[in-house]
Amino acid sequence: MIQQVFALVIILFFISRLFWQKRNKKISGNEFIFWLIFWGLAALSIVFLRQIDSLVATLGFSGKGIDVLLYLSVIMLFYLVFRLGLKTEKIEKDITKIVREISFKNEKENK
């Protein structure tokens, strides 16, 4: 019970940060919605941990609900890292395009 309250406090802290970032226009609307849903689901999972326990048991898993949540979060993390990698790659390509254009422009000006 204490752990659940503790986890909810942490989640509430993140949600408040999220609203703060949105108010200061540090994140886009889509990002805000994505993270709000993400933390909302995390909070619901904590509140309904016992129900998840029984759901997991009915599905035939031997572990507890919290273990399943942990596995899911690891999968989620891998996915986010993968997406981040692709995004970085795209940014790198954009940087190259800018560097290339500058090189053409400088060559033309120095002719």
């Binding site: 990698g85 790659e89 190259t96 560097v99 290339r100 090189s103 053409f104 060559e107």
Partner: protein, 230 residues
């Protein structure tokens, strides 16, 4: 014979020791010699400029693939008929450029690749010859289903037709495989020509090489990314 406008592209990263000699040797063989200084921190840019080459300067290091694409785009925009990719580290012999462009001039090929394993004898370091190159060949075969005798050779000549169809998207060293893949994908005609490669130092390791996007594992990762993004 029709006069072909030949552009030689020399990507250079911190090559102040070799660049003057390379330009001296290569310039008489080209209609235009384009050195792409890939963000060097030494005097590569100044020396190349002094030698009278066209120098395109990347403000920051972007990798050999990016430098070659910069040169290719410049050549295309300046009516090149043939483009030769030639390394700045003195590994290749300038006198072999003529042999490389001949099949394109004779309309026998759109893309000509140099090979260390056809007739001419190059002093290839043991580890590179027995481990790195066969491994690279295997990766090429598995990932892009292409086999040439020397898929990682950077000495190549491309016709305008090939240039128009190939955009190098990989900034690092995986561009070798990418070019091959795109040549095959666009059904361009290919010819392999024996070339000599002179080794000064080892250059490419499994973990790290010189400049951005080098090292064997990084190249494999880049190739996988190219596949995923396509």
């Amino acid at each position: 014979m029709t006069k072909f406008k030949v552009f030689i592209i020399v990507p250079a990263y911190n090559e102040e020791k070799n660049i003057e000699k390379i330009i001296d040797e290569v310039k008489p063989l080209a209609d235009e010699l384009v050195v792409v200084d890939d963000g060097s921190s030494d005097r590569t840019f100044e020396l190349a400029k002094k030698q009278g080459a066209i120098v395109l300067r990347h403000l920051i290091n972007r990798g050999q693939g990016a430098a070659l694409q910069t040169g290719d785009e410049y050549a295309l925009n300046n009516q090149a008929d043939i483009v030769v990719h030639f390394d700045a580290d003195g590994q290749f012999l300038a006198k072999e450029i003529k042999e490389m462009i001949l099949p394109i001039q004779n309309n026998e090929a759109d893309a000509v690749f140099g090979s260390r394993f056809l007739c001419k004898k190059s002093e290839i370091p043991w580890f590179k010859e027995k481990i790195i190159i066969p491994l690279a060949g295997l990766v090429n075969k598995i990932l892009i289903n292409v086999s040439l005798t020397d898929p990682q050779n950077g000495f190549r000549a491309l016709s305008r037709k090939a240039l128009e169809k190939i955009t190098i998207e990989n900034d690092g060293m995986a561009h070798c495989s990418e070019i091959l893949y795109k040549v095959f994908k666009n059904k361009l005609t290919i010819k392999e020509i024996p070339v000599t490669v002179v080794y000064h130092d080892f250059g490419q390791g499994l973990l790290k090489g010189k400049g951005r996007g080098t090292g064997g594992f990084r190249i494999i990762k880049d190739l996988l990314l190219v596949k995923l993004m396509n």
